[in-house]
């Protein structure tokens, strides 16, 4: 089959590799009909995720048709159309039974590696480094799905791939980030980063009752998309973010702040340079300036929710501000499984059509071009869907 493989920084290729096989009783094989490049895939592409190895098959946002099932998978049959959550979860362990699927205690075969870096291990994730299991990803024609009796959700025929594909990651990720803010009716929520996760965070904040959403970015097409959703916008290259947020909220700051940028943020001026140098020298593993801003601008007693991806250690995080002002920090890989059914219902009911973030659709063969385009935000690229056939 054809698969998108990683060979180094800014180096991915579509290679012919063997087809996946059932390896465990609870596995299924899915023929991928649509897959997407996630903003977090760019961290792999840019070489910032340690333990990514040459030849790894990328991709954790995908859906398709079941073509084979292991003997223990009784809920799915060949021909079922499914969306697969990006975290791999067993459904049996303490974490899964609490609904914290991305903290599954059994799905990362390399948990002992993750423990060395993070103290404890989260779940395994498709196509996201060997620290997170080394699982082959779904930017391919076929993919092996472990614990297929727990993860995949069946999709009604009348919905198009584009409407449901993002249940695999970015819709639940934006939703969980907004949910973590415990939004009260009329709350003001600030969102850093208007990429796909930021867009779904904006959408979800409104769904959960926010009165105002203030979106922060610098790309006109992304700010435009946010404005279309009803958000007020701040172009951080034009105006001072902290001052503007104060001014917009009578000096109190937003009730909650969502940081949907992550480790490779762009920042102007001295601080931007400082983080760039430190990250290049591996003295910190992320450039966290939006996170600093989110903390400093949040109202007293508010919540900073972080769906942005971080891998290791950050510098100059204003912890004094967190402590003295009773700021709650919420983060975590998304517990996608628990959002599948309720968010699918919102799609079926016509409340949300997640396809609004898609700007490009390309054949799988063009994955290398798609990565480079998405990274440099060429041609107004916000979200690319790849079609294997």
């Amino acid at each position: 089959m054809k698969a998108t493989c990683w060979y180094g920084t800014h180096h991915v290729r579509v290679e012919t590799v063997p087809d996946p096989k059932i390896l465990n009783p609870r596995d299924a094989i899915v023929r991928v009909t649509s897959t997407a490049i996630c903003g977090s895939d760019l961290h792999l592409y840019d070489g910032y995720i340690p333990t990514t190895q040459k030849g790894d098959i990328l991709g954790h946002e995908f859906m398709g048709e079941v073509v084979d099932t292991g003997p223990a998978v009784i809920n799915l049959k060949v021909g079922d159309r499914v969306v697969v959550p990006f975290p791999i979860a067993c459904g049996n362990c303490f974490s899964c039974q609490e609904g914290k699927y991305s903290l599954c205690e059994n799905s990362n075969p390399n948990s002992v590696l993750a423990e060395k870096l993070w103290g404890h291990s989260p779940c395994g994730i498709f196509g996201y480094s060997h620290l997170l299991g080394g699982y082959a990803g779904g930017q391919a024609e076929y993919v092996r799905v472990p614990f297929a009796d727990v993860g995949p959700i069946k999709i009604p025929r009348e919905l198009r791939d584009e409407q449901v594909l993002f249940l695999s990651d970015i819709f639940p990720t934006g939703y969980m980030a907004a949910e973590a803010c415990h939004i009260q009716p009329g709350d003001t929520i600030a969102v850093w980063g208007c990429g796909p996760v930021g867009q779904f965070a904006i959408k979800s904040a409104f769904l959960l009752g926010a009165g105002r959403v203030i979106a922060i970015d610098r790309f006109p097409e992304r700010l435009g998309m946010a404005r279309k959703q009803g958000a007020e916008i701040i172009d951080y290259e034009e105006i001072d973010v902290l001052e503007t947020l104060k001014e917009k909220t009578g000096g109190r700051g937003p009730d909650s702040c969502i940081e949907a940028v992550g480790m490779e943020s762009h920042t102007n001026g001295f601080i931007g340079l400082y983080d760039k140098v430190k990250q290049a020298l591996r003295l910190e593993t992320g450039r966290p300036h939006p996170l600093r801003q989110a903390i400093l601008s949040c109202k007293n007693g508010g919540t900073v929710s972080v769906p942005g991806v971080y891998g290791g250690f950050l510098d100059k995080i204003p912890f004094g501000s967190i402590m003295n002002r009773d700021i709650t920090i919420r983060s975590g890989q998304t517990h996608v499984h628990r959002y599948l059914a309720p968010l699918l219902k919102r799609i079926v009911d016509g409340e949300v059509d997640p396809s609004f973030v898609i700007t490009h659709s390309m054949p799988l063969d063009d994955a290398p071009k798609a990565y480079s385009m998405f990274r440099s935000k060429e041609d107004g690229c916000i979200k690319v869907v790849l079609k294997p056939s």
Binding site: C5, N24, G55, E105, P109, G133, P146
Partner: protein, 286 residues
């Protein structure tokens, strides 16, 4: 002596630096040996205890001899480390220094500085989302053991409290070992290898209920004992690359079997390289 053995493994080059290392190793060895001979004497004086360890003296003498050997014949060591090139690179020195440290650590781990017997012990625990009696029943079933003791190929039961472990040997041959269950309370199972094997292995596992009926804490303790004279090689072969990790991974696999009925794996998956797994996955799957 472990240190010297390990030094001799180093790939290196001829020259003065090697001689220097050999010399310092020699003195180190003599110093250590002397301490082992003399310290017990000092201790005897202090405590007024008349008994003293003959083993310690013997080992001390051996160390002194090894040290003298190294001092007298550095060219022999140098030859071991030699290649055609006459120069000594910083890399060689670093490598030799590295294995020296590694040698001391390895020797310490193997209990070479301990008492008359060398023993290696490792413990770990894991929380399992199943009742203690389920965990106990699974572990007590000889047929289930190979599912989570990765180095075991097969376990045969000989009556109630005798087992025959068939382990995968390092060169592909099977190693059979007779094991007696020495304790079985329904909460604790203990076992010990029997027969004339030079290295005795034993262990126990305990299943403790977690507070609030939430599940079970499974504690595993594994121990290897051997006479002091057992060569490092034999010990290492028995223990594997990382015995502490092996104990922990055994428990993680047990948890996976109890909770999910399978062991999470990527072995056999496709990749854009010859193998679906990499050195990282192998490192993590001891």
């Amino acid at each position: 002596m472990a240190t010297a053995n390990l030094v001799s493994w180093a790939a290196g080059r001829n020259g003065g630096a090697v001689r220097k290392v050999a010399r310092s190793l020699g003195w180190f060895s003599i110093g250590l040996g002397a301490a082992e001979i003399l310290a017990p004497l000092a201790l005897t004086k202090l405590t007024g205890n008349s008994g003293r360890s003959r083993e310690s003296t013997r080992r001390g003498l051996r160390r002194v001899a090894a040290g003298v050997g190294l001092l007298a014949k550095p060219p022999a060591l140098a030859r071991l480390l030699a290649s055609s090139n006459g120069g000594v690179s910083a890399k060689t020195v670093a490598a030799v220094a590295g294995v020296t440290v590694a040698g001391v650590i390895a020797a310490k781990k193997l209990g070479a500085f301990g008492k008359g017997e060398r023993a290696v012990r490792h413990s770990a625990s894991v929380a399992v989302n199943r009742l203690p009696e389920d965990c106990y029943r699974y572990w007590r079933d000889p047929q289930k053991l190979p599912a989570f003791f990765k180095h075991l190929k097969e376990v045969r039961a000989n009556g109630d409290d005798r087992l025959e472990w068939v382990a995968r040997g390092p060169n592909g041959q099977d190693i059979t070992c007779a094991v007696a269950v020495t304790e079985d309370t329904g909460e604790t199972i203990a076992w010990r290898s029997v027969g004339d094997a030079r290295i005795t292995q034993s262990g126990w596992v305990r299943f403790e209920p977690m507070p609030g009926g939430k599940g079970t804490v499974v504690r595993l303790h594994i121990q290897y004992e051997a006479p002091a004279a057992t060569p490092d090689g034999a010990m290492q072969q028995m223990l594997g690359r990382d015995p502490a990790l092996r104990v922990r991974k055994t428990l993680l696999r047990f948890k996976q079997m109890m909770e999910t009925g399978e062991i999470a794996t990527t072995e056999g998956q496709p990749a854009g390289r010859p193998s679906g797994t990499t050195w990282l996955d192998r490192m993590a799957s001891v």
